[in-house]
């Protein structure tokens, strides 16, 4: 296959160039995971369930497609919130997680983590449609970061979006 040849060639030519500058030391996956974020362990676990409700594992015959939690999207979301957002937004997220927890307990007498898929979706849908703008904004932010993390993951980009770093060509007008 010609395309594979191109990529192989590229790797040979550039394989030695993965040098990370000092300012990018936070890039290694290990440090990103172990680095303390602004969430407690319980909040982090709840966040994982929230992102996994937004994009869950799905099964079609003979195949299971990972959800957001499987792809570590909750860690991405926490990292984004910790590094790229101001304190008031971080607090809004902590409050939002509390609200998720409270709504689940009040409606279903069980923590969000133990609620059924339908119940969890009902909680998040209520927040999306809430008259409380804090809840609305919390859910909008969770949804947008979850989509960003999921759709830019290696799994989705390579298996669903045909991501190729070096196409080797540009055809300007071909049959669709």
């Amino acid at each position: 296959m010609k395309r594979r040849g191109v990529i192989k060639h590229l790797t040979l030519a550039t394989g030695a160039f993965f040098i990370t500058p000092s300012w990018a030391s936070r890039w290694s996956k290990a440090s990103a995971v172990s680095e303390p974020g602004f969430l407690s362990v319980a909040e982090r676990d709840l966040l994982a369930e929230v992102v996994d409700t937004i994009i869950p594992v799905t099964n079609s015959p003979g195949e299971s497609t990972p959800g957001a939690k499987d792809l570590g999207v909750h860690l991405f979301v926490e990292r984004m919130l910790a590094d790229c957002y101001e304190k008031p937004t971080q607090q809004k997220v902590i409050n939002g997680l509390k609200a998720v927890s409270t709504m689940s307990t009040e409606s279903y007498v069980k923590p969000f983590e133990q609620a059924s898929t339908t119940q969890r979706l009902a909680v998040l849908t209520r927040m999306a449609n809430s008259t409380d703008t804090n809840q609305q904004e919390f859910l909008a932010l969770m949804k947008s970061l979850t989509i960003q993390g999921y759709t830019t993951s290696e799994y989705v980009m390579t298996n669903f979006y045909h991501y190729v770093m070096a196409p080797g060509h540009y055809y300007g007008c071909i049959p669709a």
Partner: protein, 569 residues
Amino acid sequence: MANLTIDAVKAMTFDAIVIGSGISGGWAAKELCQKGLKTLVLERGRDVKHGTDYPTANLNPWDFPHRGQLPLDIRAEYGKSRSFMREETLQWAIKEGEQPYVEEKPFTWTRGYHVGGKSLLWARQTQRWSDFDFEGPARDGFAVDWPIRYTDIAPWYSYVEKFAGISGNKDGLPQLPDGEFLPPIQLNCVETHLKEVLAKNYQDRHVVQGRCAHLTKPQPIHYQQGRAQCMHRTLCVRGCPLGGYFSSNASTLPWAENTGNMTLRPHSVVHSIIYDEKRPGRASGVRVVDGHTKQMMEFYAKIIFVNSSALSSNLILLNSISSRFPNGLGNDSGLLGKYIAWHNYRGRVSAQVEGFLDKTTDGKNPSNGYMPRFRNLHKQETDFLRGYAAGVGGGRGSIQNRDGLGADLKASLLTPQPGPWNVSSWMMGETVPIEKNHVRLDTLQKDPYGIPLLVTSADWTENDDKMVNDYMEQLTEMFTLAGFKNIKAADSHSAPGSDIHEMGGVRMGRDPKTSLLNKWNQLHHCKNVFVTDGACMTSTATQNPSLTYMALTARAANFAVNELKKKNL
């Protein structure tokens, strides 16, 4: 020099000094070294070795922990250096305070403080000028007449094009002369459609493939540089490990290095050029502040090329004070720092395209379509001077339905649908240099190296506003004729300099009373100092300027070496 031993002076002495390692400095280095001159290349920033120093070049989107967005603490550290504020390009940004400047009026000054300079950041578009451009000031009565014409520079365009590797199509247009081209990058369906519509409706409006510095079909000279074919990664701004596009790092600097004649000295902030009081009309060397130790030192040479980028070159000359030149080196005319100009990139017109749904593109396009200047070309036809070119590009995106939550949302995300075609054009207008638009030194404030801060004082004129309006009207008309829908025209009102094409201040001309440089880019009053970057530009034309800097530099370097041999310098 008095306190140094003869050996110490010898160690600091070269045949030539080149200030700056960017697109023009790289060419000066290559030409001078190739002709046998021991050449010191001074770069104020850090070294960037081709290939090994492009830290993000081979990272996938998911390798970036914030997917490109920068953490707040890093944003704070880099402050105003906004253009390159992404995780993938942060290595090219300069930190707040590295070289502050005083914006008397808002001016965006983008700098590339590292070996290779802005040759790692450029858009890689390489259009030749024509005599419609070189004759512009004389015809339209502004600035001062260029001392050269197209025939003077044409062979040097060819010379640099063959080495750099320029992709393009021979279009036979007088306002955009053809060059030494590698195969062009294709236009897409919509760009081709627009091209046909314009050909049918106008005599003088064209869409061509933008000529660009990409190796679409490398020649032996490019393989000798260690470069390879462009792989259409379109990750150019991270630095290209293949050398698929031209940069100083991939091309001219390694070539100079291979001659054994180049000494490259990073972390060398040039303070000023030393005027030789003993040899009237000559400079003896440069004063450099070491970026680490902040110690001042001197280097000496027979000729000096100033290529530190337009405004920095102005700053260095303004700061080169002697009893002979109390107002800056070579500045008897008092014009040094004046007639600063740039490109007007304020206008943008975009639209949606109906149809072509049975067609698509494949791969990635590192270039775009290009509409050469048509306004006021053969005669003055509007109430503003000069005209504009336009970039034209677009393509077909995909649509993701993001409604809902859970399994439905996921299914939509994983099955994006092909979207409609869209098209966009961006204005590249000529600004007319006027005396009022200038840079000068601040009389009090100094930077961390003890060098006076540069004051930028430049603003738009009524001519620019009129031109933006005309661009928006004309592009809307052309897009309407092409059947495009939902046409949106906008004026960004961005600050001057946002185009990163600042020029002038040390302009070329025929008369020492009205210019700083002669037709060989040689200071009229200090013959062994050559300025061949954007500072030398008498007017700005509409074309992306880098190719012209390369050609002027190679031409001036060739002249300088001949003059040295004749013992005229």
